[in-house]
């Protein structure tokens, strides 16, 4: 058994596709029409054969309530790794992205939390370089 796809529940697939590709920088991998919606997955250009992220519709009312309460408490739906959290924060802020938590160092990691405009918060994280000596 392998993990090949993970998913995020979005309020609008087209809007999500734009945000996750044009702003975050992921690339579209598969798109299969399924009536009203699509099976839509993305990969990181740094890892095109890696785990795919599916953008799934959040139509179920339970999903919407779940997302709303997570966002209210600032809880990220999922997380992505970056090289440099501060640099990514600055780049995304320049593109108008809202952060609920600026880059913060804690427990050997630097993390920040941003709004994906599709009803989710996302964490970006980097391990801190090991101190010399």
């Amino acid at each position: 058994m392998r993990i090949t796809v993970t998913s995020v529940l979005v309020d609008d697939q087209e809007k999500a596709l734009r945000f996750y590709t044009e702003v975050l920088g992921f690339a579209k991998k598969t798109e299969i029409p399924l009536g009203e919606h699509r099976w839509l997955t993305l990969v990181s250009p740094q890892d095109p054969d890696g785990v795919e992220l599916a953008l799934e519709p959040d139509e179920h009312h339970g999903a919407q309530a779940f997302k709303r309460t997570l966002v209210e408490d600032g809880i990220p739906y999922t997380m992505f790794s970056v090289e440099d959290v501060q640099a990514e924060h600055d780049r995304l802020t320049g593109l108008g992205v809202v952060f609920t938590q600026p880059p913060t160092e804690m427990g050997g990691m630097t993390t920040a939390v941003l709004d994906d405009t599709c009803g989710n918060l996302l964490m970006i994280a980097a391990m801190q370089p090991a101190a010399d000596g």
Partner: protein
Amino acid sequence: MVAAVGDVFKALADPTRRAILDELQERDGQTLFELCTRLVGRHGLGSSRQAVSQHLDVLEAAGLVRTRRQGRYKFHDLDTSPLRAVTERWRLDRRGANP
């Protein structure tokens, strides 16, 4: 409304609640998630989110923490003004005090 002084003492009596105030002093406007992460990462306090939420309720009742909704997010701010009641009752600049 000004909270009773007793509530302030009770709120400050717990080490996790004091750690929450320490973290909010460093940065206002934190979500519950950020506070929980800071408590684990910086204080080694692995309290559940529910427990931290209850601590925040106590701090808010004492007037030491204020909650504000901004859009869909809920942020917490530090308010040190209830501490004034403590130093007004037992003054820091008491006349006739031994040095």
